[in-house]
């Protein structure tokens, strides 16, 4: 193979972002760019790193660990090593770096990258929370605050940097990034940042009325807020109307149907793209770029809906319901991560009444409580006792957070919902009426 062919011989599109090092070496071996001896030397280096990691993990107390844990440590090492390689301008440059630099050096650089990116993620989250779009949809704030905080709490970049821990319930329009660990969180936060910037261009009450028209229960559902808002704005822009009030009418719907339904997908996408350019000057650059990336998906949804005569699904007319005076629900301030980890370890060693009493004594924020629900194994009777002993305000807040059993996956969450429902049902009729009224007025 001559020098010209050898340069750029690795194909970037054949590399796996989630298994970069593995796919890089596999391709290199396949194309004869790495020898078997080089590969074996790499494996020996990995084995040495793995031994050191295992030793660090158990503090030198044990010469053996479980296979599953060793596998996770190995995955973690491969994740860390992949980061400085991904930063190379080309895969060939990455391969050259793998050949010439020690694995220990690559590992150190990878860890440093993880730490820097974690700091960036924390800043992104803080910035988001300080300017979060106001919506009653509980998944929006819960995920960005509670979910992401949960990630920071549980993330162990030294040993398991590939773990994500959280489910990130709020779904971005482009979907959750298909990445792991800090890369996932970084990508997810960038998407949410862009969506939030777009949403903030609109009046929250206008958005609320628009989303109510799609579902009265949208506040309690993990749905994407941006799509109906953006489509409504684009529809208005296509009709040369003010896109920022989200006030499509029935005539507008009919007009959009006749304008767009006859178009093939690519032509429809072009129309939406032209409409988007009218919004460009009012959006931050990164938000506009994100909206552009969403166009193909939006066009597909519009195309499919119009073919079925479901114009209202993609270009909804806002509901006439005014938002009522609302109770503001605070998620509360979380305890510091170290304190939380200590509490988890303590509660792990307790069961029954002891665990319930200690939880009630030590936990003062809803955020910490919901985290504990996810991070510890609970028994049904413990959950039931907790709910019985909860102060009224906390009971109300939890009933708001867990209104619908069908959305709950964990047994502990389902038991919580059942226990909360049982406590509510046991209220005297007047008290129950007052409780329901207060519940209906809660906003996050």
């Amino acid at each position: 193979m001559n020098e010209l062919n050898r340069a750029n011989a690795l194909h970037p599109e054949e590399l796996d972002e989630r298994k970069y090092l593995q796919s890089l070496t596999e391709q290199a071996l396949r194309r004869g760019l790495m020898t078997q001896r080089e590969f074996e030397s790499l494996e020996e280096g990995l084995a040495a790193l793995l031994a050191a990691q295992a030793d660090r993990l158990n503090g030198g107390r044990s010469s053996s660990i479980r296979v599953e844990q060793a596998q996770e440590l190995l995955s973690g090492l491969l994740f860390t090593l992949s980061l400085p390689l991904k930063a190379c301008p080309t895969p060939d440059a990455a391969l050259e770096r793998l050949r010439t630099e020690s694995l220990a050096s690559l590992e150190a650089q990878g860890l440093e990258q993880i730490r820097r990116r974690l700091s960036v993620c924390r800043l992104m989250q803080q910035r988001l929370l300080s300017a979060l779009f106001r919506t009653p949809n509980r998944f929006y704030r819960l995920t960005i605050e509670g979910g992401i905080n949960g990630f920071f709490k549980l993330y162990r970049p030294q040993f398991f940097p590939q773990e994500t821990h959280i489910t990130a319930d709020y779904p971005p329009l482009l979907g959750r990034p298909i990445l792991d660990g800090v890369e996932f969180i970084e990508g997810y936060l960038r998407e949410i940042e862009a969506e939030n910037a777009i949403l903030r261009r609109f009046d929250p009450d206008d958005v609320h009325r628009l989303l109510l028209s799609l579902s009265r229960e949208y506040a309690g559902s993990p749905i994407n807020l941006l799509e109906p808002v953006l489509l409504s704005a684009l529809g208005l822009a296509l009709l040369e109307k003010n896109p920022w009030r989200l006030n499509l009418t029935a005539d507008d719907q009919a007009h959009l149907q006749s304008l767009l339904a006859p178009l093939e997908l690519s032509a429809l996408r072009d129309q939406l793209s032209q409409a988007l350019t009218k919004l460009r000057d009012s959006l931050p650059a990164h938000a506009f770029a994100y909206a552009e990336r969403c166009l193909t998906l939006l066009a597909r949804h519009v195309h499919a809906a119009l073919r079925e005569g479901l114009t209202a699904r993609v270009f909804p007319i806002p509901s006439g319901v005014e938002s009522e005076a609302a109770l503001l629900l605070s998620y509360g301030e979380r305890m510091p991560n170290d304190e939380y980890r200590h509490l988890v370890a303590e509660l792990n060693g307790l069961t029954g009444d002891a665990r319930v009493q200690q939880t009630l004594a030590k936990v003062s924020s809803l955020a910490d409580f919901t985290d504990l629900l996810a991070d510890l194994p609970w028994r049904r009777e413990e959950i039931e006792q907790l709910v019985r002993l909860l102060p009224d305000a906390d009971f109300l807040a939890l009933m708001h957070l867990y209104p619908d059993e069908s959305l709950l996956e964990r047994p502990s969450e389902r038991w919580l919902h059942e226990a909360l429902t049982a406590r509510r049902d046991a209220l005297a009729p007047d008290a129950k009426r007052r409780f329901e009224a207060a519940l209906a007025r809660i906003h996050d």
Binding site: R61, S63, S64, V67, A70, L350
Partner: protein, 159 residues
């Protein structure tokens, strides 16, 4: 690159022979107690460790567990030259099994020390009592939130 753990932490024949040589080197220490391993016994013990690791779903980095067991047990009044190799083999099995059963809460040193104390004490040299009474009782104690320090090594505490 297939990230196959067994490829990375291979126990090739060369490594096993080296490990066996390390065990034979301990004969100088154990001879004082009338205990010696032959070459074939040493090789069998190393193979037994590999099998035991596989059976219990564990991987070992570096080694040293067999050496630790030998050093701890060589002065046991219940070990003789006749039962030495076999007992060591059984202790190796028990060690890895109960590293799992005790949820890795104990260090290697702590577990070996407990096994020795129990073996020489209430178990009176019986591997069966160690395997079916003392170690399971300890594991249960740890599962219930207890610690090694708070475990009573007497028969009343056993299942």
């Amino acid at each position: 690159m297939e990230t196959n753990l067994s490829l990375l932490i291979g126990q090739g024949a060369l490594l096993e022979r080296q490990a066996a040589r390390d065990l034979l080197a301990l004969n100088d220490e154990t001879a004082a107690h009338g205990l010696r391993l032959s070459e074939s016994q040493a090789l069998s013990l190393v193979a037994a460790r590999t099998d035991s690791l596989k059976k219990t779903g564990r991987v070992e980095f570096g080694g040293g567990v067999i050496e630790r067991l030998i050093r701890a047990f060589c002065d046991s009044p219940y070990l003789t030259q006749e039962n030495y190799a076999q007992t060591l083999g059984e202790l190796i099995d028990l060690f890895y099994e109960f590293k799992n059963e005790t949820l890795d809460l104990l260090s290697d040193a702590e577990l070996v020390s407990f096994m020795k104390q129990a073996f020489d004490g209430p178990c009176a040299g019986s591997i069966d009592l160690l395997a079916w009474q003392a170690l399971p009782a300890l594991a249960q104690h740890l599962h219930e939130g207890g610690s090694l320090k708070s475990f009573r090594l007497d028969t009343e505490a056993w299942v």
